[in-house]
């Protein structure tokens, strides 16, 4: 792994539905988890260049880039960040897998006076998030499966690690933290899981979360990767189901904001 480069698989401009203002999202290759609903399956696994086959053509979809190269891309929309209070979001995969590179990139972006954010599951040793937090204005932190045994078995997650990372973020005064719960039928939306999330959120003194209804936007990618997508036929949540979950949190005195793609 080149020390001064990061492995990126996409840079997406004009993101307006997550985080403040108009943002550019830098997608980092690599994720230690294996969520069955993952909409960026190309990012899963180790940090290594990934290929897929699209319309009969094999393409390498991730590439090594230096901080400067990424800054060149980021700078293209600088005027939009300035007028909107937006900025740059690191996403993935799990951007904390390449935490050294992520920290350098965030530091450089922040030095330009541009808002910085990360989207993370916290599925890394505590030192990873600690490295980036000083340069991060906004943390979108995913809370998925809270039962440690289930989490380990279903997505390979270590709930203890997640909680430690989350609490480290909360303890950082310069970072604003929003817990986000992807609503995945059959997984995260089980009543026990929702209750555990509510309890945990209360425990750490938070009263507002974002809920992100399940979507199928990633299903095509499984075909490009020639992988089986187990949730291909899982129907989307109905508006009533989303309302019910919303109501559940309201009853628990938690404001749940429905967000994400529509």
């Amino acid at each position: 792994m080149p020390a001064d480069k990061g492995l990126i698989f996409n840079i997406q401009r004009y993101s307006i539905h997550d985080g403040p203002g108009i943002r550019t999202i830098v997608f980092f290759q690599g994720c230690p988890l294996r969520c069955p609903w993952c909409s960026n399956p190309e990012s899963q696994g180790a940090v290594r260049p990934m290929t897929w086959t699209k319309n009969g053509k094999t393409e390498t979809i991730s590439y090594w880039a230096t901080v400067d190269e990424i800054l060149d891309e980021i700078e293209k929309d600088e005027v939009f960040y300035r007028t909107s209070g937006g900025g740059v979001t690191l996403s993935g995969g799990e951007c904390l897998v390449q935490y050294d590179f992520a920290a350098t990139l965030l530091r450089e972006v922040k030095a330009l006076g541009i808002n910085t954010a990360i989207e993370t599951t916290g599925a890394m040793p505590l030192k990873a998030i600690k490295k980036v937090l000083p340069y991060t204005d906004y943390v979108m932190f995913d809370l998925k499966i809270m039962n440690p045994i289930l989490a380990k078995r279903v997505i390979g997650d270590d709930v203890g690690q997640v909680k430690a990372s989350f609490e480290a973020a909360l303890a950082t005064p310069t970072a604003q933290v929003t817990p986000r719960v992807p609503l995945i039928p059959g997984y995260t939306t089980k009543p026990e899981n929702l209750q555990q999330i509510a309890d945990y959120v209360h425990e750490v003194g938070i009263h507002e979360i974002h809920i992100l209804p399940f979507h199928q936007y990633g299903s095509q990618k499984y075909e490009y990767l020639k992988r089986n997508y187990t949730m291909k036929y899982t129907p989307l949540l109905t508006p009533t189901e989303v309302d019910n979950i919303h109501q559940f949190f309201t009853d628990q005195k938690i404001t749940a904001i429905v967000s994400g793609l529509e």
Partner: protein
């Protein structure tokens, strides 16, 4: 003299809760029809004035129309002035061009775009009387006789297209603030004195004839209103309204308006007289929120109820939808869906350089939200100082999805005018004329829509020229394109001057000229050069396709050496025939970057060519001593002008459309979202497009949802402002909505969409334009 009474069902005695709704419905009840009334009256007058100077004959004909045209006050109307009794009638002006209608006389009722009923009797009258009278002595005849072989050749090469050879020039904003401050009487007095001092100046005589006719026209309405008010079968409220209208219209024959109501009445009547005189597209309205505000305030202080003010302004809005323009099939392809051009610019700068917004600016957007018809075509002038509240209201209005208002950037338009010798005060006072052209209101005869210049076609011809050049280089190709641009620029300016001269000789407009500075001082018509500013605007078309094509040729042939230049030209000439051709086409589309994706190398190529074109054009002076200005917009001409161009190296098939709008990326070729599009467009020095430019951006409604959506949209527009892009307009429609509208037009009679530079009813557009709108990249996230 004939008049028509408003008819009203006997049971309806109470004032309707929504007068506007009643008036709006009446506007669309009947099919559009051609009315020969103006043509007949104009001709009758001409037959009586043989041997007199043209400008006098024109004035007398306009006066004759105003004295004899059938007039009407429709149910619930508060403002007088209907061009035709039947709403939305098409008006012919055979004195300009009697021929085009003959070619279409039997198809105009069924043609794909903008049909009009033409009754059998009228068709016969036209054939037997009007055509023979005007044949050989119309403006078109004059222009055709003057067209040089060079200009003809350039037209035949499909590089240039001259406009306004068959109708009035239009694209003028009269000095409405002046006439509102002075009243008609002052003009009559001034012109009488001028005429006495310069008895041999025909302009003064002619102008006076029309102004006096305007006074009589006001009085005809006063009499009609009075007669109608006496009708005891009408409900009391209506009889009171009519009595008041009678008094007001009589008063306005001389007096200056005192109230908002009177100001709107005079404004509309002035506009209608201009239409009788010119029968032209785009006698635009200028900065209504600025010049009407003192009247609005006066009425407020006088205690006029707000809902009455609302109704009068609403009546004014509806009247602008009553006037439609009858165009030839070819012209209707380029300007589909009746863009009559009652364009209004809201906001902007005052003479102190401060942002100019007032309560009326806001009210005008509110009223639009209620009425939602294509005219008046509202635009908002944006600059770095725009207050958020007004910007938010602008964004909310855009979110309705009708493409109104469009946005003009003061940070670009003002310096653009300064670079052309316009004073700072005047530059800050610019307004929008036509679709997306900018002008200095009340001071300009700008021929903003005089010609189209097909840059993509020039590249095609340049490639043909070099096909057999064995060692051709990229620089050689580029240089050859630039040289050809120079050659054709010379020709297009010559051609434009011929049309300019045609209007001077055949179509002086003394009334309108009196409302353009400094014609009265100079004693000259605008067509003779009497205006303060005298531009001619030529639209460069196809820049995005040219940029994509040049870039693809550069990479494919000259850098990657994948094929020879000659082989590429042959593939283009064969329109990518066969499997290999199609493979090449796909390669060209997918493997080479395109304009709209923020690729500096490519975008700058586009920028350099446009700059070259604009500067070259700026070297020429027109016959009125003014400069030629470059534009970069197509309105909907990207479809017919695309028909003129063979296959191109951007992977476009022969005769397919060019990029829409003017500066928008080619359909479907931008894939990085709207920020990248704006960045690409910003590479082109928009300040050089003094005559006008056009950028379409399509958003899905989701993008603009909620307060957050509005906030981010407003932020996006502030970035647009800083990026110094001259114009942008938005289409906010989901694809599904549009497809459904195409399949079930009956359900979508009221669906207004942005075509380009103006909004039209979606169902009024032909299938190809509908398809184009549906296809344009939708920026969803």
């Amino acid at each position: 003299m004939t008049t028509t009474m408003s008819t009203r069902p006997a049971f309806e005695t109470a004032r309707p809760t929504s007068k506007l709704e009643v008036m709006k419905q009446n506007l669309f009840k009947q099919k559009r029809q051609i009315s020969l009334e103006r043509a007949k009256l104009y001709t009758a007058s001409y037959q009586q004035t043989v041997g007199q100077p043209t400008i006098i004959r024109r004035a007398k004909a306009t006066a004759y129309i105003m004295d004899h045209v059938e007039i009407s006050i429709r149910p619930e109307e508060l403002l007088c002035g209907n061009r035709t009794v039947r709403p939305r009638s098409g008006i012919l002006s055979p004195e300009m061009d009697p021929y085009w209608i003959m070619q279409e006389i039997d198809t105009i009722g069924t043609r794909p775009q903008d049909q009009f009923e033409f009754t059998t009797a009228d068709r016969q009258y036209y054939r037997e009387n009007l055509l023979p009278y005007w044949s050989g002595q119309s403006m078109k005849d004059f222009i055709n006789a003057k067209i040089t072989p060079e200009v003809k050749a350039a037209e035949d090469d499909l590089v240039i297209k001259l406009n306004q050879t068959d109708k009035g020039q239009g694209h003028i904003i009269m000095d409405f603030p002046a006439i509102l401050q002075r009243g008609v009487g002052t003009y009559v007095t001034t012109l009488t004195a001028k005429q006495a001092a310069h008895p041999d100046n025909d302009f003064y005589t002619a102008a006076l004839i029309v102004f006096k006719a305007m006074q009589r026209h006001f009085d005809r309405y006063a009499t009609l209103a009075q007669t109608m008010a006496a009708d005891e079968s009408l409900p009391t409220y209506r009889r009171i309204e009519l009595t008041e209208m009678a008094a007001m219209n009589h008063r306005l024959t001389t007096a200056k308006p005192q109230s908002f109501y009177e100001a709107l009445q005079l404004l509309w009547m002035t506009s209608i007289v201009g239409q009788y005189e010119s029968n032209a597209s785009s006698l635009s309205l200028g900065r209504m929120d600025q010049y009407l505000y003192p009247f609005y305030q006066a009425s407020q202080q006088a205690g006029v109820p707000a809902d009455f003010t609302w109704e009068v302004l609403g009546d004014f809005y509806l009247k602008t939808d009553d006037v439609v323009l009858l165009r030839s099939a070819e012209s209707a392809k380029c300007f589909a869906g009746f863009p009559t051009g009652y364009t209004v610019a809201l906001g902007g700068l005052d003479k102190y350089g401060q942002y100019a917004v007032n309560e009326l600016s806001n009210k005008m957007l509110d009223l639009y939200q209620e009425i939602q018809l294509p005219q008046p075509n509202l635009s908002v002038r944006i600059n770095e100082q725009i207050p958020r509240r007004f910007l938010n209201k602008t964004c909310e209005t855009i979110r309705l999805g009708t493409g109104i208002p469009m946005l003009f950037n003061d940070e670009v338009c003002v310096p653009g005018f300064l670079s052309k010798g316009v004073s700072l005060d005047d530059a800050r006072d610019y307004a929008v004329v036509g679709c997306v052209e900018t002008t200095i209101p009340g001071k300009t005869y700008g021929l903003h829509d005089i010609a189209l210049f097909n840059l993509m076609r020039i590249m095609e011809l340049a490639m043909q020229d070099l096909r057999d050049e064995p060692a051709v280089t990229y620089d050689q190709l580029r240089q050859h394109i630039l040289d050809k641009i120079d050659d054709y620029v010379k020709i297009v300016t010559a051609g434009s001057d011929i049309v300019d001269l045609g209007h001077r000789e055949f179509a002086p407009i003394p009334f309108l000229s009196s409302l353009v500075a400094d014609c009265i001082d100079n004693g000259q018509d605008v067509t003779a050069g009497g205006a303060r500013y005298n531009f001619s605007g030529v639209q460069g078309i196809g820049e995005p396709n040219l940029a994509d094509s040049l870039y693809a040729v550069k990479k494919l042939v000259f850098e990657n050496h994948e094929m020879s230049f000659k082989a590429l030209v042959d593939q283009l000439n064969a329109d990518f025939a066969g499997d290999n051709g199609e493979k090449l086409r796909q390669h060209l589309i997918h493997d080479f970057d395109k304009y709209g994706n923020d690729n500096a190398e490519l975008d700058m190529e586009c920028a350099k060519i446009f700059r070259h074109y604009a500067l070259e054009l700026g070297k020429y002076k027109n016959i009125r001593g003014g400069e030629f200005n470059a534009g970069a917009y197509t309105v909907s001409a990207h479809i017919p002008l695309g028909e003129d161009v063979g296959a191109t190296p951007d992977g476009r098939h022969a005769h397919d459309q060019l990029a829409d709008g003017g500066l928008s990326p080619m359909v479907g070729r931008d894939h990085l979202g709207p920020t990248a599009v704006l960045k690409s467009v910003s590479k082109i020095d928009n300040t050089l497009a003094v005559n006008g430019s056009l950028l379409n951006v399509k958003f899905s409604p989701n993008t603009l949802k909620g307060d957050n959506g509005i906030r981010k949209f407003a932020d996006f527009l502030m970035a647009f402002t800083q990026l110094k892009i001259r114009h942008v307009q938005f289409n906010v429609q989901s694809r599904e909505t549009l497809i459904d509208a195409q399949q079930h037009p009956e359900n979508y009679a009221g669906l207004v969409v942005r075509v380009a530079g103006y909004s039209a009813f979606f169902v009024d557009l032909n299938k190809r334009i509908q398809d184009d709108i549906i296809r344009r990249a939708e920026h969803v996230l």
